[in-house]
Symmetry: C2
Subunit: 579 residues, 2 copies
Amino acid sequence: MFRFLRVNMTTKSCVFEDIPAEYAGLGGRGLTSTIVAREVPPTCTPLGPHNKLVFAPGLLGATNSPNSNRISVGCKSPLTEGIKESNSGGQPGGHLAKLGILAIIVEGMAEEGEWWQLELGKDTAKLVPSPLGGLNNFDAVAKLVETYGKDCSYITIGRAGEFKLTAASIAFTDRELRPMRHAGRGGVGAVMGSKGLKAIIVNPEGGKNHPLHDEQAFREASKRFAKALTEHPVTGKGLAEYGTAVLVNILNEAGGLPTRNFTCGQFEGHEEVSGERMNKLTKERGGEGAVAHGCMSGCIIRCSGLFPDTKGKLISKWPEYETLWCFGPHCGIDDLDLIARFDHMCDDFGVDTIDVGVAVGVAMAGGGIPKGDGKAVLEAMQGISDGTPLGRIIGCGTATTGRVFGVRRVPCVKGQSLPAYDPRAVKGVGVTYATTPMGADHTAGYSVTANILGVGGKVDPLKKEGQIELSRNLQIATASVDSVGLCLFTAFAILDVPDALPAIVDMLNAKFGWSLTGDDVVTLGQRILSTEVDFNRRAGITEAADHLPDFFTDEALPPHNTTFDITHEELKTTFNWIK
Amino acid sequence: MFRFLRVNMTTKSCVFEDIPAEYAGLGGRGLTSTIVAREVPPTCTPLGPHNKLVFAPGLLGATNSPNSNRISVGCKSPLTEGIKESNSGGQPGGHLAKLGILAIIVEGMAEEGEWWQLELGKDTAKLVPSPLGGLNNFDAVAKLVETYGKDCSYITIGRAGEFKLTAASIAFTDRELRPMRHAGRGGVGAVMGSKGLKAIIVNPEGGKNHPLHDEQAFREASKRFAKALTEHPVTGKGLAEYGTAVLVNILNEAGGLPTRNFTCGQFEGHEEVSGERMNKLTKERGGEGAVAHGCMSGCIIRCSGLFPDTKGKLISKWPEYETLWCFGPHCGIDDLDLIARFDHMCDDFGVDTIDVGVAVGVAMAGGGIPKGDGKAVLEAMQGISDGTPLGRIIGCGTATTGRVFGVRRVPCVKGQSLPAYDPRAVKGVGVTYATTPMGADHTAGYSVTANILGVGGKVDPLKKEGQIELSRNLQIATASVDSVGLCLFTAFAILDVPDALPAIVDMLNAKFGWSLTGDDVVTLGQRILSTEVDFNRRAGITEAADHLPDFFTDEALPPHNTTFDITHEELKTTFNWIK
């Protein structure tokens, strides 16, 4: 029942393959990273025919486990030039799993200027010419729904992916067929664009949940896991009520909310762009707005509310904390409605909100966009879809924008922009930014938990002590969570509720007939990270790249006036099991 | 008499320093690379305060040796993120040497937005506020001449350097006080701009030629060297008559003239942009035009003619072959007058003609500039000075332009664009592009000699045999030549006239009282390359970066239909003395 699907864009062949033995026990990120590491020449041009784009649901995909239907996308990144796994919610992950497709491997390249779409159904896969070239995600999905109906789910790229901009994302439709869930980071959309693949249609008809080795044991473990999620204040209530935007006021209070291109850790307009305000406005305005909305089947956390305008019409999903931050405090903008419009533009054009939002603030620092000028940002953003030079610059993300505008203080590691936590005031996440093989990425090892939220223990965010160990353990655990297909937010419960991790292990054992222990989860995480680091080294990305830009060590951040004082030598001990 | 000058842009201090013993025997590139390797943290932000900008004349500076007054500029490159030496003709190299300044080390950083200029005279050095901010090179130098007179020489940056564009150059005035000689490659002008240093005024008054250990021996050796240069057909006649543009027809004939972004090795309009035509038009038009004009005192090769418009007014110096190529065949343009205007714009705004010209052709490939449209190129080029988004993109060079316009076929190695010789038809230079620590650079090991010109032996340009050894030997020799302060074009004579190299060695021995042999020249070259490679490795640039973009191995080049078939593993043997 379980197979890989290999899609060759040069020859247009679609072949189902038995899964080679060496991939046993891998799913999600574990699978995408292992396939990329084995099949992609590490020094190849990321936008050329030798790169491959891999889609993989997680190990617990197509089960009744809560929050387990995420999908991983892997390739060599055109943004970082290293290995990339970017994952997303939405419906396609679960649908692919139900069809028994554990990985789609897209290789080769269509003729330049041609667009194709991949039709997937039970035991069928076919590339057909796509009529969607030139459309952004919302229009593209609308046409796909017209053609293929409401029971399918859709994976698409917008204009940014067509232009092969290095911050281009891949969109996944949510339960209501909106392309609002994205594999955002690392320019995976540019790789899809480079191959000439505009869309994937996933028809789940005839698909089914995976067989379970021990149905009864699975059901019990799944219940325990659901209980843990429901009981924890963050996953049980906080995220549903305020979305990830709950973090705005918390990070501001902690002095770690990077403001105006990382010159201060607090923003005077934080209340205006906070989760509390978003919740209040959503309720007041009503209409198409919604609090506590999930992005995929089986989600019980429901962080993804819907934000209406003053007339009740949907502007966008609730922007994530990172999106609110980069278009808000980072740009000196405190207009929630405007930021929601930027979020919608990112979803529609298909770009990473973080790398583009940070780029906009960096362009402001370099004189390319007037500081704090929302109208100018709207115009610049529209340029992403229109293909203007400025639009293409910011659509290529922060590193390119910093270079073009001659900016010295460019908040990037390995070419990928830092997210919404200043590493001088949240030092554990600074270790993650510096060392993860993904380029700066909070989700790779979310030390904000113990640094700020008091989840999974407490580590003083302003001191260097304990940060490397904290980040190491979280990076290992995250690599496993990303392989299981679980939403990363389940980690809040995993870190605090003693029974949560055993419940996950029990689900895996009950599904596959394995006898994993908690230690095996650690081993799996280490193995994935080792694979990723090894690919990067072969691609030419060494430990020399494992550090933050100079200004984080040179300049003290108000209000705590701390610098990032964990040395490069110390950072090199993070992956202490790798020679 | 001989000292380093250390200029701190943060504190505005200018301090003369005795030369530490470890720098004995080094000049030019040997000195800049060694200072950068010792003093610059390899992972620092190139446009930040930790980078340093080093200027150094060569070992034979301030002597009566022919063609020995070039100047090296070193730093960590914002273009390649590795070590950089870029060198230039013009007057300042000789003037600095006469003042006994063997290296200027510029460090720190002025306040953003401030511009300073450095006044240098006999035993004096002073930073003063510069009134030149916002001016391009020609206007800046005109103002400097007004203030400081015609006996000084000047080092300046244009708007591109002020904008810190990564293809920004540093201009050096020629004998007629025109800022037409440039340290072009690697974005050294952006580093000067990042420091807030707009200009250096070199007043040679009171300076003098260096004392000679054995005056008589020096004079004799110098005569022998001049004889070798005069006797060789290239240095004695060809370059004076046609400039480096003599190569247009030769490379076209060889099928190695990269046309329309490296899709063909021959250009139908080659005659229109050839050295022969440039010579003919220069003679016909008269006026300010000139054949056989030298860029610096002591030059007897005189390759740098002056190109007049139809009314006899100077458009620019004779564009170099590489400039003619990148704005010509590479862009599908065959208008010599237009190309000379582009050359002038590059000189005036202060950008590398190669990285910008190649960028223009790559923008054409990506739809950012209409193909072959000279008028559109003029507008785009003007944008470099005006700071438009498109101008800034191309002003950042080829790699950035390729990224912004989503181009797959981007002819760069280590972020620096390939010059005017297709590595599939001139394979020896392909080895140099791939392996030099400078990023793709023909001058680092000009295998065109034996591959195409029959200088220094013959190695079939289309076969892989012998290319690595050829490039290795030339890279070693070049590192030495760049340290001696000799114009690289002297290499034509060095390779063919048996007495040329002994004459150089004899000049060095006679000047310094050394007892070098030819072998020591090899050892010096190896030592410099080792230092540069080591810096790069510490900066995170490994052997993994020593290869050409995929399309050179994937696509056969007409008319010979050859690919670049020297493997990455083979390329790694180039620096076979480095572990």
